[in-house]
């Protein structure tokens, strides 16, 4: 059995894994009920490390991880897999979470629970207020703090910066430091 087979048993195994990792609660849907298997198989198809991990997961004995096992037995079997093969487990987790947290129903739910939008971040983006210059006054008044390296330019530049911390320098002036 491999993820590429995509047969009914494979799908049930993958949905059971999603249900174990993301069991849902009063506010959140169970990963298994969302039918994530097809999304998981699609993600694995284009990514060799994910495909290999899903195949390895599907090669594990059915006992404990099967859809028919109870949730406590599946929790125990999943924890055993995590301890036995953390690499495979970590990749399985990525595939399941990728399928869940990019699912339209879950994104809509997150949007309803927070101030995010349900869609992608573009084209609207997020508007945040710009910094007010007054916010920097305390820091600037605390004094020049970079360390003198002993080079000829350092002392003169430092003295000028102490005299006027907010002075506007030109590229030409800065180029003269190395002359």
């Amino acid at each position: 059995m491999t993820a590429a087979d995509g047969d009914g048993h494979t799908r049930r195994r993958l949905n059971a894994a999603a249900s174990t990792l993301l069991p849902g609660n009063a506010d959140w849907p169970d990963g298994g009920t969302l039918g994530l298997a097809d999304r998981m198989i699609a993600r694995a198809a284009g990514t060799p490390r994910f495909r290999a991990a899903l195949d390895e997961f599907l090669r594990q004995p059915d006992e404990g991880l099967s859809p028919e096992a109870g949730s406590a037995a599946r929790d125990e079997a999943m924890a055993a897999l995590q301890a036995r093969d953390p690499g495979v487990f970590g990749l399985l987790l990525m595939v399941v979470y990728d399928a869940y947290y990019t699912h339209p129903d879950v994104l809509a739910l997150i949007s309803a629970r927070t101030s995010t939008r349900p869609g992608p971040p573009q084209p609207e983006g997020h508007r945040l207020p710009l910094l007010a210059p007054r916010d920097l006054t305390r820091v600037q008044q605390s004094g020049v703090r970079w360390r003198d390296d002993g080079e000829p330019a350092a002392r003169a530049v430092r003295d000028a910066q102490v005299a006027d911390p907010d002075r506007v320098w030109s590229e030409e002036e800065i180029a003269s430091w190395s002359e």
């Binding site: 506010d27 959140w28 101030s115 995010t116 945040l128 530049v157 911390p165 590229e171 800065i174 190395s178």
Partner: protein, 534 residues
């Protein structure tokens, strides 16, 4: 079957440094050809217009080449490295998957041995690079605010700083309460429209690419001008050898195209810009069996002194929403309170702390920065408590050079063209560990002052090896360095290296602006040589 052609300067690698150098040479009418093993990735290909944008970070836009596994990637063996390699192969190089935080090194960073009796001094100073930092800022576009008292002066920035955001305002107030330094950092992200580049609209995940071209990846900044000035860029071109004549001068490079056809390009000068792993890999394998130590390695230091910047993370969890997903991910503000040496802290040199915002739902669920999100029962409750409620300090530590930290060649693993893989061998030293402990304690103090209800910490972030430095060290003495102050290899004077390999020490800041300033300066030195020989 093979093809042969000629150019004045051949550049290997079209990333941050290769792009900057090629632009500078092309502007001076030099016939320059750049070979890039990857392809163009148009900014519009970035995934933020799609609802499953976050998943791309696990797949085709994964920063670790071993996870991404694209045909143009080469294997980097990481089993003996505490920090894993992150890089990208394509036009723009690793700036394609870049958060664009762009602080400069300090003057003291170039005089580490003189000032603190550790590491080595650079053979050039901050003041030598200052004009090139400015040039790079102008060409790339830089948001920020001049007047930071922790750094020497600079010109007004191209656009105002990125917004602080809700968490940033809280943390800034906390730093003011503590009397500690902070500043809105320089970032290669435009906050106003400039030409065909749109102002950042704070969509979030800069590290996946920027469809608005607000972020200054090298494909957006340097390459259009370079090509308009006559530079030639060949993509899907994997360089497999650097060719020398009987007198030991470089005559060009051999490369393989996508179809497997072998080519030779002859040149007056060869410039390597393949990053701190790719450059030593190419030089250590160059010449084949006839040169078991590679090329430009009479010092024995090629591949040695690998520096990666150990990074730790501390995440403040706030009871109230701080909309962590909004705004550019990687930097809201920067504190360099602990940047310069104070031996009473228990370590030498220092670290910077950049305030990182949060992630979208998927990466938050996977643990993001230093989060503890269980699977199974309790997962959803923890997600609710964290998503949109966090901010993180990334603590970037100066990494002192150690010759045992290195890039080696593993002949048993090869890329698709049969070129042996690189292996990173790297351990974190006690000085860095002391810095990490101090940095985490500092972050906890800031977040507690800012009203965070909890602080979660990660001692060392494993997937953080973006800053690849030191493996072809710059110096004046051929016995103790690989390249001279103008980036020419001591052994092969018309072979030049301009990527992070040439860093003598690392500083404690993101290296890209310094890499680009060094590359622009090296271009001017090549132009000066050319004028002398005309």
């Amino acid at each position: 079957m093979s093809a042969r052609e000629r150019t004045e300067v051949v550049v290997v690698g079209a990333g941050a440094s290769g792009a900057a150098l090629t632009w500078r040479l092309a502007q001076a009418s030099v016939k320059v050809t750049c070979l890039e093993r990857g392809r163009w990735h148009a900014p519009e290909e970035a995934p933020q217009h799609h609802s499953d944008y976050e998943g791309s970070r696990l797949r085709e836009r994964a920063p670790n080449p071993n996870h991404r596994g694209a045909p143009e990637d080469y294997p980097v063996l990481e089993d003996r490295s505490a920090i894993k390699p992150l890089m990208f192969n394509g036009v723009g190089g690793s700036t394609v998957l870049w958060s664009a935080h762009a602080p400069r090194m300090h003057p003291s960073d170039f005089r580490v041995h003189t000032l603190d009796r550790v590491g080595v001094d650079w053979p050039i100073s901050y003041w030598d690079l200052a004009p090139y930092y400015e040039l790079n800022d102008r060409i790339s576009g830089m948001s920020g605010r001049h007047g930071d008292p922790a750094n020497p002066p600079r010109t007004p920035r191209t656009t105002p700083p990125v917004p602080l955001g809700a968490a940033g305002h809280r943390v800034a107030e906390a730093l003011d309460t503590l009397g500690w330094h902070w500043w809105p950092p320089d970032g290669q992200i435009l906050t106003e429209d400039v030409g065909n580049r749109l102002a950042c609209n704070g969509c979030g995940p800069c590290e996946l690419g920027c469809p608005r071209r607000s972020r200054s990846s090298a494909d957006v900044t340097y390459w259009p001008g370079a090509l308009a000035s006559g530079a030639r860029l060949v993509t899907d071109a994997t360089v497999t050898d650097v060719l020398l004549d009987g007198s030991g001068r470089a005559t060009g490079v051999q490369w393989i195209d996508e179809s497997g056809l072998s080519h030779v390009i002859d040149a007056d000068a060869v410039v390597l810009a393949c990053n701190g792993v790719g450059t030593p890999r190419l030089l250590l394998t160059a010449g084949g069996d006839a040169r078991p130590d590679g090329i430009a390695n009479s010092s024995g230091l090629l591949g040695r002194n690998l520096m990666l910047h150990p990074i730790a993370a501390a995440t403040g969890v706030f009871s109230e929403p701080v909309d962590s997903w909004a705004g550019n991910t990687a930097f809201a503000l920067l504190t360099q309170e602990f940047y310069e040496t104070d031996r009473s802290r228990g370590f030498v040199r220092g670290y910077e702390m950049q305030l990182v915002r949060g992630h979208g739902p998927l990466i938050t669920a996977l643990g993001g920065f230093a989060l503890d999100v269980p699977w199974g029962r309790g997962h959803h409750e923890r997600f609710d408590a964290l998503f949109g409620h966090v901010a993180t300090f990334a603590i970037t530590c100066e990494d002192l050079p150690d010759p045992e930290n290195r890039v080696e060649i593993d002949p048993d693993v090869t890329d698709r063209h049969g070129v042996p893989a690189a292996r990173m061998i790297y351990r974190v030293d006690d000085n860095s560990r002391a810095m990490i402990a101090h940095g985490l304690a500092s972050a906890e103090r800031i977040f507690e002052t800012a009203g965070a209800r909890k602080v979660l910490t990660a001692g060392l972030v494993e997937q953080a090896g973006f800053h690849l430095m030191g493996t072809a060290r710059m110096g004046s003495d051929p016995r103790t360095s690989v390249v001279d102050p103008d980036c020419r290899t001591h052994d092969v004077p018309n072979l030049v290296i301009v990527d992070g390999s040439v860093f003598a020490t690392s500083g404690a800041v993101n290296p890209t602006p310094t890499i680009q300033a060094v590359a622009l300066r090296a271009a001017d030195r090549l132009l000066a040589d050319r004028r002398r020989t005309l």
